[in-house]
Amino acid sequence: MTPAVEVRDLVKRYPKRDVNAVDGLSFSVQPGEIFGLLGPNGAGKSTTIGVLTTRVKATSGEASVAGVDVIRDSVAARKLFAVVPQQTNLDRSLTPRQNLAFHAAYHGLSRADRNAKAAALLDEFGLADQADVKVDWYSGGMAQRLMIARAMMHEPKVLFLDEPTTGLDPQSRLFMWERVRDLRSRGVTVVLTTHDMDEAAEMADRVGIVDHGKLLALDTPEGLTRGLAGHAVLEVSVTPGDGDDPDKLIAALTDVVGVERGEAVAGGPIRLYLTTDPATVLAPVIAVLSGRSAALTNVHMGAASLEDVFIELTGRGLR
C-alpha cells in the first residue's frame, strides 16, 4: 500500500546556517495512522512539516504525500493534504462560514458543495451559532476548531496538525482529541507535531522522536517506554532521617536489587527506574528506608512515561 507520508534522507539547510535543520530524516506513515512527531523546540519538526506541505524547499532527499512527490509536484500534492498551523491564519476579512466556503472554492468545489459542506462542518465543530460573526471575535479554541473544519473542506488524505492543543483550555483539548480520533475513523491520516508528552501518548499510534534534525526513535508510545532502560518506575516520597541527605539516600536505594538508577525529582519524590516488577522491589526499598530512619510518606508505582523517554533521548539542557 502507498504510504500516506514518506520522507527519505531529507536534508534542509537554511541559507547562512552552518548546521542542517533537518539532517537525513527518514520515516513513513501508514494510511489511517495518527503519527506524532515529537521533539524539543528547534529540533526540525516544523521544517519537516514545512517540506511536506510545500512551504519549505528541501536541500536534498525525497518527500511524498499519498504517493505524490511534494517537491516535484507541489500543486497536485496540495490537493491531498491540509495544514492546521499553530498560529491562527484565518482570513479576517471573511466570516467563519466564508472562510470555509472560499477555502473550498480555492480547491475547486462547486458552490452547492461548498455551502453544504461548510454548514455540515460548522455544525460538527460546534460553531454553527457563530458562523456569521467576525473571525476576530473567536477565542483561541474556536479559531483552532474553525481551522480544522477549514482543513477538512477539501477532504484531504493527510492532515498536518502543528501543536494542535498548545494554549487550549482542557475542554477544547478534549474536544480536539475526540475530533482527531474521529478523523482517523474516517480514514484521514493525521501527522501531528507536539512537545506535549501526554498528548502524544494519548493520541498517537506511533511516535517519532526528533532532535537536531535526526530521528532518534520511532515506535508506538508503549514500545518506546518499554524500550527505556527499566520499564517500571517506583516513586517514593520520603523525609530523610537526621543527618542523612537525599543524595546519600538515593545512592543507598540504587543498591537495592532491581533498581537501575534513581533521581530526585526537583523538590518532589525520589524516582527509581526498575528492571523488575515494582512490587518485588517495594519491600527491600522500605527496609533500606527504615534502616536509615527515613519517614516514608507516599509510594507510587507506575510505568516509565513518554516524557522519561524524551528526556533520556534529548537530554535535560534548555533550548
Binding site: 500500500m1 502507498t2 500516506a4 537554511y14 501508514q30 494510511p31 489511517g32 514545512g50 506541505t53 510545500t54 512551504r55 519549505v56 524547499k57 499519498a66 504517493g67 505524490v68 509536484d73 500543486v75 497536485a76 496540495r78 490537493k79 491531498l80 491540509a82 495544514v83 498551523p85 498560529q87 491562527t88 491564519n89 484565518l90 482570513d91 479576517r92 476579512s93 471573511l94 472560499f102 477555502h103 472554492a105 480555492y106 480547491h107 475547486g108 477549514r150 488524505k157 480514514g187 484521514v188 491520516t189
Partner: protein, 270 residues
C-alpha cells in the same frame, strides 16, 4: 485503513490552477465590494483635495490660470490609478506575510505559487482602473468641467492599464521587501517622493529650465503615465511622445514584476 491506491484524478493540475486563480481573485473582489466605501475614501479623498486646492482654491485667489485645471485633472487621475495599484498590493502583503498570515491558505491552494502574486497584480490593476473611472466624473464635478478627447480613449485605456501594472509591480516589490516594522517608512521615503516627482502636477517639458529636476522626474515611471494620460486627454499640451511613454511603462512593468515575483517566492517558500 483507507485505500490510497485508488487515487483521486489529481494529475490534471492545469484546470485546478485556473479554478483556484479565479477563486482567489473572486475572494479579493468580494472583499473589495464588502468594503467599497472604505475603498472609495482611500483612493478618492486625497486626490480630490489636491484637485480642489490646486485647481479651485488657488484659481479663486488668482494664483493659477483656468487652463491649469484641465492640465491637473489628467495628472491626478494618473496619480490615483498608480497609487491605488501600489497600495492595493503593498500594504496587505506586508501584513499577510507577517502578523495575520492570512495569505497561507491561498499559498496552499492547488496552483503554482507565482500565480498568487500575479493575482495580486491583476486585482491591483482592476482596482486602479475602477478608481480612475471614479476620478474623472468626481473631478469634473469639482472643477465644473473636464477635458475630453474622444480620439485619445484607446491611448488613455492602454496607458492606465500599463501604468497601474507598474504601480502594482512596485507595490509587489515593496510588499515583499519591507518588514512590517518599517511600514511607515514607505510613506515617508518612497510614496511622497514618488507622488511629487511623477509629473502629475506639471507637464514634463515645462521643466526645461530646471534640468536637474527634469532628470529626477524622468527616473520615475509615474511621469510616463502622467504624460501618456495628458497626451490622450489634453493632446495640445506639449508632452513626451506617447510611444516612448508606453515603451517605458512596459519595460518598468516587466522589471518590477520580475523583481516582485522573485521576492514573493522568497517569502512564500523558504
Amino acid at each position: 485503513m483507507t485505500d490510497l491506491d485508488v487515487r483521486l484524478p489529481v494529475t490534471d493540475a492545469r484546470p485546478s490552477a485556473a479554478k483556484a486563480f479565479r477563486a482567489i481573485l473572486w475572494r479579493d473582489i468580494f472583499v473589495t465590494g464588502k468594503e467599497f466605501w472604505v475603498f472609495l475614501a482611500q483612493v478618492a479623498l486625497q486626490p480630490l483635495f489636491m484637485l480642489f486646492v490646486f485647481a479651485k482654491v488657488l484659481n479663486a485667489g488668482g494664483y493659477v490660470s483656468d487652463d491649469y485645471a484641465h492640465l491637473l485633472l489628467p495628472g491626478i487621475v494618473a496619480l490615483t490609478a498608480f497609487l491605488t495599484a501600489l497600495q492595493t498590493v503593498s500594504f496587505p502583503l506586508i501584513m499577510e506575510f507577517s502578523f495575520t498570515r492570512e495569505i497561507e491558505d491561498r499559498l496552499l491552494a492547488p496552483l503554482p505559487t507565482y500565480l498568487v502574486a500575479l493575482e495580486k497584480l491583476l486585482l491591483a490593476v482592476i482596482r486602479a482602473l475602477a478608481s480612475a473611472v471614479v476620478m474623472f466624473p468626481i473631478g469634473a464635478l469639482v472643477l465644473g468641467s473636464a477635458p475630453w478627447h474622444a480620439d485619445g480613449v484607446p491611448l488613455l485605456i492602454a496607458s492606465l492599464v500599463l501604468g497601474s501594472w507598474v504601480g502594482a509591480g512596485i507595490g509587489l516589490v515593496l510588499g515583499t521587501m519591507v518588514p512590517p516594522s518599517k511600514i511607515s517608512v514607505i510613506f515617508a521615503v518612497i510614496l511622497t517622493p514618488l507622488m511629487f516627482t511623477g509629473a502629475t502636477q506639471y507637464p514634463w517639458q515645462s521643466l526645461d529650465s530646471m534640468r536637474w529636476f527634469q532628470v529626477v522626474t524622468a527616473l520615475n515611471p509615474l511621469t510616463y503615465l502622467s504624460e501618456a494620460v495628458r497626451a490622450a486627454v489634453v493632446p495640445e499640451v506639449p508632452h513626451i511622445p506617447a510611444w516612448v511613454c508606453l515603451l517605458v511603462l512596459v519595460g518598468s512593468g516587466v522589471a518590477f514584476t520580475g523583481i516582485g515575483i522573485k521576492g514573493f517566492m522568497r517569502r512564500a517558500v523558504s
